[in-house]
């Protein structure tokens, strides 16, 4: 029995002639501790897939289950609880709250938990320690670099130790060296038992994954990541996308 299971997921945006089908009956199963890379062209449906996996976007039909929980069978508020307990999000543009310090941003997922503030801060500092940013805990996001902001976003995603980590183009806004560091960090987290699902345009980043799922016109099929072109480092997403051979990788 898969830890994460998608059953015939369909997603249609809009109605009538303006309707756009983003997912056309996607089904797959993922095991706990997997490191998945979802690749595809722009508009192929990979971001829709990620948002559905993050309990943020209700599919038009089909089922999405995590630990046998029918995520879209949950009520709105239960789904919010699910996101807090099961999902850690890493956004491409970091999405840090600009008026909160680094440590406060990391503490955000703990805000609604009924634990002491000192305990929340300790957990946040621990998460920052794991991404190597303990010393910049009291700075504002505007006072740290892009790579450091991405690390803060990762610390925020892992602070409540969710079983699933969803990353949307995690290196998209970073230079190749910083991108590689972030990918190493994601691999470490995966090695520590976290299920990592990453959407990327970047072949080199996709190579970090143990499984590769490719989205094409709302359909998903699995590819072998070993077949991806080997590179020494993981450059920024847009450059990587340009390197991808036309028609995908066999």
């Amino acid at each position: 029995m898969s830890y994460i299971k998608a059953e015939n997921l369909m997603k249609v945006y809009g109605q009538g002639e303006a309707a756009v089908t983003a997912l056309r009956g996607v089904s797959f199963g993922l095991e706990s501790g997997d490191f998945i890379s979802i690749m595809g062209e722009s508009g192929s449906g990979k971001s829709t897939m990620l948002s559905i996996m993050g309990a943020l976007n209700t599919p038009s039909s089909g089922k999405f289950l995590v630990e046998d929980i029918d995520v879209y069978g949950l009520k709105q508020e239960q789904r919010a609880d699910f996101r807090r307990e099961f999902v850690g999000f890493i956004f491409q543009s970091f999405n840090l709250i600009p008026y909160l310090t680094v440590v406060e941003n990391v503490m955000l997922p703990l805000t609604t938990l009924n634990i002491k503030s000192s305990q929340k801060r300790a957990l946040a500092l621990d998460a920052l320690g794991r991404v190597g940013l303990s010393k910049k805990a009291d700075r504002l996001p505007s006072q740290i670099s892009g790579g450091e902001q991405e690390r803060v976003a990762i610390a925020r995603a892992i602070v409540n130790q969710p079983p699933m980590l969803l990353a949307d183009e995690p290196t998209g806004n970073l230079d190749s060296k910083t991108g590689a560091e972030i990918m190493d960090l994601l691999r470490q987290l995966n090695e520590q038992g976290m299920t990592v699902i990453m959407v990327t345009h970047n072949i080199e980043c996709a190579r970090y994954a143990r499984r590769l799922l490719r989205m094409t016109d709302g359909m998903m099929h699995e590819e072998n990541p070993v077949n991806l072109i080997a590179q020494a480092e993981c450059p920024a997403g847009r450059v990587g996308a340009a390197l991808m051979p036309a028609g995908g990788v066999a």
């Binding site: 508020e77 807090r84 999405n95 709250i97 955000l108 805000t111 609604t112």
Partner: protein, 384 residues
């Protein structure tokens, strides 16, 4: 890190927007406080001045009367069984429920005397009480002592007496100590002396003919007081001078209604300002709300953050609105009233202003808060 911390930090970051919302409620609250405390101060001032109009309750002895008709024509009536009021009984007025509203009680004994061949009415009164009951009196000379009398202006002219003139009344030697300036009332024809002097002259020690009562304050229950005094003095007939009281009350009521109407309008405008500003704030923060929702904030958490922000600004606006309103009132009364009018700290008004400010801030923010909570997190994140 709590929802409260997020709300406070956002307020500190968006000082201009927070300041705009604060100004909206603050102006509303300050206007309301200014108007209401101004009305209170003016009411107090008007009451104080109105009290100078004198008595508004009369106490006269109870009498039985018989109406006489002959051949279907009324030819008047005859009074009998006239009861008397004992002076000591007036002390019972101080025991009534609304005794605090009694400003002065003026007993009066009346009788006819003959001076230089003229029959005039002599009134024995309490000159201390008359200062409150008849504040318009202006006396040339001085108030009478034990053997002094005060003449009404017409009485002085008719009797051809001046200040210092001696006269003999019922074998008692009296001296004119003062003459009343013209009042345009029956007082001009009367001769006044001290109550005890008149009681001695008429042999009515301890008894009085009537009494005047000055009772007035904001919304003074005159009718209730009449009933209470009637209960305390069963042998007396107690009458309210309704016309005076009613007109005083109506004036105050008009002022109050006007101030409430203006306050409601200004507070409504303040509420609309909060609504519009909070709507704008929610729209500006769509992405941020999307992040909150994505990391597991419930809708109720989003609502709490928005309402906490609005509630905090409103509470500050309530406090400063009251203080500014109080200050504005102190300045305004200097222009609107003569003499010293006190504008004291009113804890009830302060609590009301604070509660109303918070209420307006929160009620006006409920719709923006619901709007924020209803944002689709996926759509909200796309806006970043």
């Amino acid at each position: 890190m709590t929802l409260k911390d997020i709300a406070f930090k956002n307020l500190r970051r968006r000082k201009a927007k927070a300041g705009f919302i604060l100004a909206g409620i603050l102006i509303g609250v300050a206007t309301m406080v200014t108007l209401i405390s101004l009305i209170q101060a003016m009411t107090h001032d008007i009451n104080h001045k109105l009290e100078k109009y004198g008595a508004n309750i009369l106490i006269v002895p109870k009498t039985e009367s018989l109406s006489l008709t002959y051949g279907g024509l009324s030819v008047g009536g005859v009074s009998f069984e006239m009861q008397e009021i004992q002076e000591k009984d007036l002390a019972r007025i101080k025991t009534i429920k609304n005794a605090a509203n009694v400003a002065a009680v003026g007993p009066m004994v009346l009788g006819v005397i003959e001076v230089a061949g003229h029959r005039v009415l002599l009134a024995g009164i309490d000159f201390q009480a008359s200062k409150i009951l008849k504040p318009w009196w202006k006396v040339q000379g001085s108030s009478p002592g034990d053997n002094g009398i005060l003449l009404g202006t017409d009485a002085a002219r008719v009797l051809n007496l001046k200040i210092g003139s001696p006269l003999k009344v019922n074998n008692r030697d009296l001296t004119v100590s003062g003459i009343l300036e013209s009042t345009g009332s029956q007082d001009d024809q009367l001769v006044f002396t001290r109550l005890d002097t008149a009681q001695t002259i008429f042999g009515k020690q301890g008894r009085i003919s009537m009494a005047e009562v000055a009772a007035l304050c904001n919304a003074c229950p005159i009718d209730d007081m009449v009933r209470q005094i009637s209960g305390a003095l069963p042998g007396a007939k107690v009458m309210a001078i309704q016309q005076v009281v009613k007109s005083r009350m109506e004036t105050l009521q008009h002022f109050l209604k006007f101030s409430y109407a203006v306050s409601i309008i200004v507070l409504l405008v303040g509420g609309l300002m909060v609504l519009v500003s909070m709507m704008g704030s929610v729209r500006e923060r769509t992405g941020e709300i999307g992040i909150w929702r994505a990391i597991g904030f419930r809708r109720s958490h989003v609502i709490r953050i928005v309402l906490l922000e609005a509630g905090t600004i409103s509470a500050v606006a309530g406090i400063f609105g009251y203080l500014i309103g109080l200050g504005a009132t102190k300045i305004a009364v200097k222009f609107l009233s003569q003499g010293d009018v006190l504008v004291p700290f009113d804890p009830q008004l302060a609590a009301g202003a604070f509660t109303l400010a918070v209420l307006i801030g929160i009620v006006s923010s409920i719709y923006p808060a619901m709007l924020a909570a209803r944002l689709d997190p996926n759509e909200a994140l796309r806006s970043i």
